[in-house]
């Protein structure tokens, strides 16, 4: 066992100096490589065989430089986490020793508690605390060292582009793009961890977004990709600081992403909570109009509350574009005025002028097949990590139309909730969910203008509340006792974990009995019908 004196002498803050140097090094590497890359890209008036050979050599240099930056960032981040963990655990060791000494006990440098006069129970109590604290510290220290050794092994692979492993990795990156998800899974899970880490350093944006790549690899790759996107944003002439803040928030240690892309409105799949044996269920939440990378914070907060309440993982699925406007005006999720004015217009005026708005079914058409593929990936992960755990897919608002469309294409899920849903699917026809015993629920508050969209089978498939085989649930009341209804009834229950509607989502995910629909108020005032 490490001696107390040795533990006290660890200069953990010196490791922070290394973290700072690595952060700076990664940034300067990034700038240097960008400058070189730009120079060659911009050199348009330079053609011929010599130019081609030079450009290839410089492309290779740029690629190696980017890998260096990626691994440098990974080492810096890992080391920063290791230092934070070790500082806390070492303080705990020192506290336990000080506590024992304060009780007139002697603590030897080996950690052994000695006293001729003290009560043996008191000695045992302090001995147990000190031993356990030292063990935790040593365990964390060794685990941290292991992570760093893994990164070191990856450095050795990527650093030598002529090595057999590096050449094979290059081929793999190219093959993985076109391979089937099953093939990808079998290839990636067959590689030693150091080679997977090297692959992530070479192509984080690719590995983070491929179906078939195991979730833990996607998570590690997307952390690198998010950090790169943040640095790229900061490197622009007029950085979008709101977006930079969003990336910083996404890089919080407790956040994990199964897909990420900053292109367009931005794409992401966030996994909140942990997939482990004993969880009551896994939920996937597909949000609605107005959700994008920048605005996904609201959805993530609600999903976190759902995860806390269910004690299980919740996945926020925004792996593609959702409409950003109801009728051509940008909105936020809490834009009540937009929703009031938007849905009737969207339903009544489904014309070309509403393309890209919430009346446009193309977003659901594009997202649905990807959601089907992701459902398959999720099933494989659950089978490995939490076998037998049921999945619940929840589609809110426009997200309901996405979920319904995915079910029409064969999405497998044990339970589905069409929450304030725009409809049942844009493809027409039946749902083809292959799950053995599917439970479908819907939930739409009285007075929610989405009822207007639900009334028409075009373009979103019609009203889930009336669909055969769907159990309509009660939206009930908010925690303050007021009814979930009207325009706010479309979304506000997501921010109120004590509301009936939120409780029903929790009940479905965890396999409890939800509250069934009760006809308290008409769905729509008569004048709007």
């Amino acid at each position: 066992m490490t001696s107390i004196a040795a533990i006290r002498s660890w200069d953990l803050f010196a490791l922070n100096d290394i973290v700072a140097a690595l952060d700076l090094g990664a940034e300067r590497t990034d700038n240097a490589v960008d400058a070189v890359d730009r120079a060659v890209d911009d050199a348009r008036i330079w053609t011929g065989a010599g130019a081609l050979a030079q450009k290839r050599a410089i492309d290779d240099l740029v690629c190696r430089g980017r890998s260096l930056r990626n691994i440098t960032d990974q080492v810096a981040e890992s080391l920063g986490q290791i230092v934070a963990d070790l500082v806390g655990l070492r303080d705990h060791v020192i506290r336990t020793v000080d506590d024992a000494v304060a009780q007139q006990l002697t603590v030897a440098d080996s950690g052994q508690v000695i006293s001729d006069t003290a009560d043996p129970d008191v000695i045992d109590f302090h001995q147990s605390r000190i031993t356990s604290a030292i063990n935790d510290l040593q365990h964390s220290d060794e685990a941290g060292a292991q992570r760093l050794r893994l990164l070191h092994a990856a450095i050795d692979i990527v650093d030598d582009p002529d090595s057999a492993i590096a050449r094979r990795n290059d081929r793999l990156i190219s093959d993985l793009r076109t391979a089937s998800p099953n093939r990808r899974r079998s290839v990636v899970t067959g590689l030693p961890p150091s080679e997977v880490t090297a692959l992530i350093a070479r192509a984080p944006e690719l590995l983070g977004n491929l179906d078939g790549v195991p979730f833990d690899v996607r998570i590690a790759a997307n952390r690198v990709a998010i950090r790169n996107a943040r640095d790229d944003e900061l490197d622009t002439r007029t950085p979008n600081l709101e977006r930079v803040r969003r990336y910083d928030d996404m890089l919080r240690r407790d956040r994990t992403f199964l897909s990420f892309s900053p292109e367009g409105n931005g794409r992401m799949i966030e996994l909140i909570g942990e997939m482990r044996p004993g969880i009551p269920g896994v939920a996937v939440l597909v949000p609605g109009t107005g959700t994008n990378l920048s605005s996904s914070g609201d959805v993530s907060r609600s999903a976190r509350a759902l995860s806390d309440a269910t004690r299980g993982p919740v996945i926020v699925y925004v792996d593609g574009d959702l409409p950003q406007t109801l009728t051509g005006t940008a909105l936020s999720r809490t834009s009540a005025g937009g929703i009031l004015g938007g849905v009737p217009g969207a339903v009544g005026g489904f014309v070309a002028g509403l393309r890209d708005s919430a009346a446009d079914p193309s977003f659901a058409r594009d997202l649905a097949p990807r959601l089907v593929g992701f459902g398959r990936e999720l099933d494989i992960e659950i089978a490995g990590r939490a076998p037998g755990t049921p999945t619940t897919v929840i589609g809110h608002s426009y997200g309901g139309a996405v979920v319904g469309s995915a079910e029409q294409l064969g999405l497998r899920a044990d339970r589905l909730v069409y929450a304030s849903s725009a409809g049942t699917g844009v493809f027409g026809g039946e749902w083809h969910n292959p799950a053995a015993n599917v439970h479908r629920y819907s939930m739409t508050a009285p007075g929610d203008p989405i009822h207007l969209a639900q009334e028409s089978p075009i373009p979103f498939g019609g009203d889930p509340d009336d669909r055969r085989g769907v159990t309509r649930l009660d939206t009930g009341n908010y925690s303050d006792g007021s009814p979930v209804s009207g325009i706010e009834g479309h979304y506000r229950y997501w921010d109120d974990p004590a509301s009936t509607a939120f409780g029903n989502l929790v009940a479905v995910i965890t396999g409890q009995t939800p509250t069934l629909y009760s006809n308290r108020l008409p769905d729509l005032p008569p004048r709007l019908r």
Binding site: A43, L61, L148
Partner: protein, 100 residues
């Protein structure tokens, strides 16, 4: 056979950027290596592994810097060859004109 077109000014700019990239990467290698050798306090697995990983990063950055320097040298050589050929051609034409 690709047509040969070249802008010497663009090539010069590429050389300058590559040199700048080389200098930056060399600084990164030196700074990181310097941090890793400042050894204080007792040893334990994490610090040992960190120092080894950082040493490998520094060496790698150094190698990439050298590669950048090599590319810059190649480009400078290419630019010089194009320039010499251009000047030879100009001299040839001028001497032809003189012999009229």
């Amino acid at each position: 056979m690709q047509p040969v077109r070249v802008s010497l000014a663009e090539l010069d700019r590429c050389v300058a950027e590559l040199n700048r990239g080389h200098d930056e990467l060399r600084c990164v290698a030196n700074d990181v290596a310097a941090t890793s050798v400042r050894r204080r306090g007792g040893r334990h697995p994490s610090t040992d592994a960190a120092r080894e990983a950082v040493g490998a990063l520094a060496a790698w950055a150094g190698r990439i810097a050298s590669a950048a320097a090599e590319r810059a040298t190649d480009l400078r050589r290419a630019a010089s060859t194009y320039r010499d050929a251009d000047e030879d051609s100009a001299r040839g034409i001028a001497s032809g004109v003189r012999s009229w």
